[in-house]
């Protein structure tokens, strides 16, 4: 298929709808610790909106990154309109008519809309590209009834506007295939409807649109067909009209782990409020609202679960509570004291421990030894150090005891912690945090990447901690895990709590539906 001149796209006639536009056959891709795509075969037609559904880590983004040339598959072939192609870089992909709108926009903030569009355009010559692109922008604005100002700088635009620029960017290159990665995460409901209207028009013009999402409602709002990925494999490809949300949820989340016994009876300690969050609003790294008006409280002897697909504001909520992220408005009260926007160490002193989502960047210092990592949150206290010096002999004893107690597989305490497996790394972090006897433990995706036995071990630790009268807030994507551990569950969706329910009579199916955005 020859590279389309961007102006010709707008006048293209409808093509045969049953044409197969994309065929990805037997694609496998592996990263150092994980198999992202396992023998995946995926097919999309001309003039169709095809949803790619799955949890985080299911392999959807990796698959599309392969289609877009960002990664190379270890095995497998790609055919576009029947012809076999090799896509070695995004440049190849663009030349072949594939455009991608990423979840994190790849726009250059300090350049203008027109300049971002001109970037990578082959056929507008070298001089004064901005003026040439302006005409295209105006045509597009008129056709889709949207307002885009070519000279506006990207940093001045809202999320919805930036996304429009991203889509424009793909179209300006003559994309006939458009990949959108979780596009509605950053949009208001109104912007989402505008986006969907635009996508439908593009589909009618013959575009193939691949729509990566984890939100069931949207699959039914916009897609013609849906392919479900789970743990790197294709589970099914269905006509959207012939299925329903329950079936999709089941396919997406799959079979369960054996359910642990949750000893949820209260013991003999006084029940007091450990954490209260009131009307919390928190911004994410891009300056957009991630937490939109969350309120809840946790009591001693309780495990409180925040369920939901990651990316709905859970991380920002946890970081705000622990003091790693500024609170835009709202209040956080721990043990009766208002700790809103306190620095991390002050909150730590109130008896709060944290198991971060990003183990490697935040939870540990990879190049330092296990010993030195164990004291990350307590090095300034006796007996870990004196006035000036670190007490290495005590540290050695302490760490040795900990690694035995928590069953960490390692030859000694002095090897750099980056050499440990994911599970053992997590155990070190857990050991460190729990040994501080925190009254409130905040754990964000604590069993991500761990095998079954490590996961069960972590769960038993949590239950033991709760029995001692402490409180735990656990953020998780796994409904089985949530129901096995928690007394109460809040489902976080799009920055706010969809609902807070007791875990006692909640079923996995119901939880799965809620996590996908459907209130029951």
């Amino acid at each position: 298929m020859k590279n389309q001149n961007f102006s010709s796209f707008l006048t293209n006639s409808k093509s045969n709808i049953s044409d197969v536009a994309i065929l990805m056959k037997n694609i496998s891709k592996r990263f150092p610790n994980v198999i992202a795509n396992d023998n995946v075969t995926f097919e999309a037609r001309t003039g169709e909106i095809h949803a790619l559904l799955g949890e985080n880590g299911a392999g959807k983004t990796t698959l599309m990154n392969i289609l877009y040339g960002m990664y190379q598959p270890d095995k497998g072939e790609i055919y576009l309109w029947g012809r076999k192609v090799k896509i070695r870089s995004p440049r190849d992909a663009i030349r072949l008519g594939i455009g991608m709108v990423h979840q994190h926009f790849k726009l250059i903030a300090s350049l203008s809309v027109a300049e971002n569009l001109a970037l990578g355009l082959r056929n507008i010559g070298i001089l004064l590209p901005v003026y040439k692109v302006k005409r295209f922008v105006e045509n597009f604005s008129r056709k889709y009834e949207l307002e885009i100002y070519p000279d506006a700088k990207i940093w001045q635009l809202s999320a919805g506007e930036r996304q429009r620029v991203e889509i424009l960017k793909a179209l300006v290159h003559g994309a006939r295939i458009l990949i959108l990665d979780e596009p509605t995460t950053v949009l208001t409901p109104l912007e989402r409807d505008k986006l969907f209207t635009m996508l439908r028009r593009m589909r009618n013009d013959g575009c193939s649109i691949i729509f990566i999402t984890h939100k069931l409602k949207e699959v039914f709002l916009i897609s013609d067909r849906v392919t479900i990925l789970r743990k790197g494999k294709v589970v099914a490809t269905l006509d959207t009209r012939s299925t329903n949300p329950e079936e999709l949820a089941k396919l997406m989340i799959g079979q369960a782990l054996p359910r642990l016994n949750n000893i949820s009876d209260t013991k003999s300690y006084e029940r007091r409020e450990v954490l209260r969050v009131k009307d919390l609003y928190v911004l994410n790294d891009r300056g957009l609202l991630a937490v939109k008006g969350v309120s809840f409280s946790i009591h001693s002897g309780e495990i409180f679960g925040v369920a939901g697909i990651s990316g709905n504001g859970q991380r920002e909520l946890a970081e705000a509570i622990v003091g790693l992220r500024a609170v835009k408005s709202g209040q956080i009260v721990i043990e009766g004291e208002d700790v809103t926007n306190f620095p991390p160490r002050k909150i730590l002193r109130k008896g709060v421990a944290y198991i971060p989502e990003d183990r490697i960047k935040v939870g540990i210092v990879p190049d330092m030894s296990i010993e030195e990592n164990v004291i990350l949150r307590s090095y300034w206290q006796r007996p870990f150090s004196g006035r000036v010096f670190l007490n290495f002999s005590f540290l050695n004893e302490w760490t040795t005891k900990l690694i035995q107690e928590y069953n960490v597989m390692t030859p000694n305490t002095k090897i750099p912690v980056k050499l440990l497996s994911g599970g053992n790394m997590q155990k070190v972090i857990l050991a460190r945090e729990l040994s501080l006897h925190p009254r409130l433990l905040i754990a964000v995706y604590p069993t991500y990447g761990l095998d079954v036995s490590a996961t069960q071990y972590v769960h038993s630790l949590f239950l033991k901690h709760k029995e001692q009268g402490n409180a735990i807030l656990i953020v998780s994507e796994d409904p089985e895990e949530i129901l096995a551990l928690c007394d109460r569950v809040a489902v976080m969706f799009n920055g706010s709590f969809l609902d807070i329910k007791s875990a006692k009579n909640l079923s996995v199916k119901e939880l799965q539906l809620m996590m996908a955005g459907i209130k029951i």
């Binding site: 990263f31 150092p32 610790n33 994980v34 960002m70 990664y71 870089s89 995004p90 440049r91 663009i94 991608m100 990423h102 926009f105 790849k106 726009l107 250059i108 903030a109 300090s110 350049l111 300049e115 971002n116 001109a118 970037l119 990578g120 355009l121 507008i124 010559g125 070298i126 001089l127 004064l128 590209p129 901005v130 700088k153 940093w155 960017k169 990003d358 490697i360 960047k361 994911g422 990447g449």
Partner: protein, 311 residues
Amino acid sequence: MSELMVIPLLKVAVRASTSLIFTALGEVYAERSGILNLGLEGIMLVGAVTGFITALTTGNPWLGIVLGGLAGGLLALIHAVVSISLRGNQIISGLALTMLGIGVSGLVGRKYIGISLKHRLPVTPIPLLKDVPILGPLFFDHDLMVYFSYIASALLWFILYMTKIGIYIRAVGEDPSAADAAGVNVFLVRYACTIFGGFMAGIGGAYLSVVYIPMWIENMTAGRGWIALAIVIFALWDPLRVLACSYIFGILEALQYWLQRYGINPYLLGALPYLITIVVLSIVGASERLRRKMSAPSSLGKPYSREERSV
């Protein structure tokens, strides 16, 4: 009476600044693409010695200037390989280049110290413009390279803001992964800008030894490479501002001694540009709004690699 003495002084300042302008313009492009080159001093010296020897042996000063530029580009290539492909620490690599340049130029130029060039670049006043009061003799009564420096500033400004090449460069400097996703060859753009930066610095150095003095003296750049770095920052990475700021530096230096009679100490005055550079950076860094508009290219000094995935 003494006021009239100012004009010839300023004229010398304009000529003196020309070498700075070429070097700084080249570094603007390198830094705009994200590569910090601290090796300018060494590259200028290599350009100076190469240019001088070429001009002396061939009798053609233009050939000397061009070859001086090429030598500078070659040296910058080393920095490019270490910083871009080998992802080494750019600061260290640049400093290494300065040392290498100082050493090599000293070695190669040892037999040519103090020889003066016979075939020189003539002063070519521009017919009508040179009669404009004050500005005329100041800007339009020089050798051709000075005029080239004006044209270069304007041309490079145009390329940076008004052409696709400029968009590529600025994109790579601000957000290399976004540029990569848009299909831009980040490595190529950075290599090209770094080598271009070296080429211009080589010309800046060659200008000193072939036109300005003209002779080869050891370490003749006397810190101009570092001043060029300061100018790039002071001018906030804009080619036309570089022209203006180079003249400010040059004029301050030329007027140092003249201002002494007004009680302004020349040395403290000499410290002023460096102080102002720091102040300018602090102001820009402190204000969120200014930071968006005028700060350094976001990827300056950081190596780029595409498949960086964390577990």
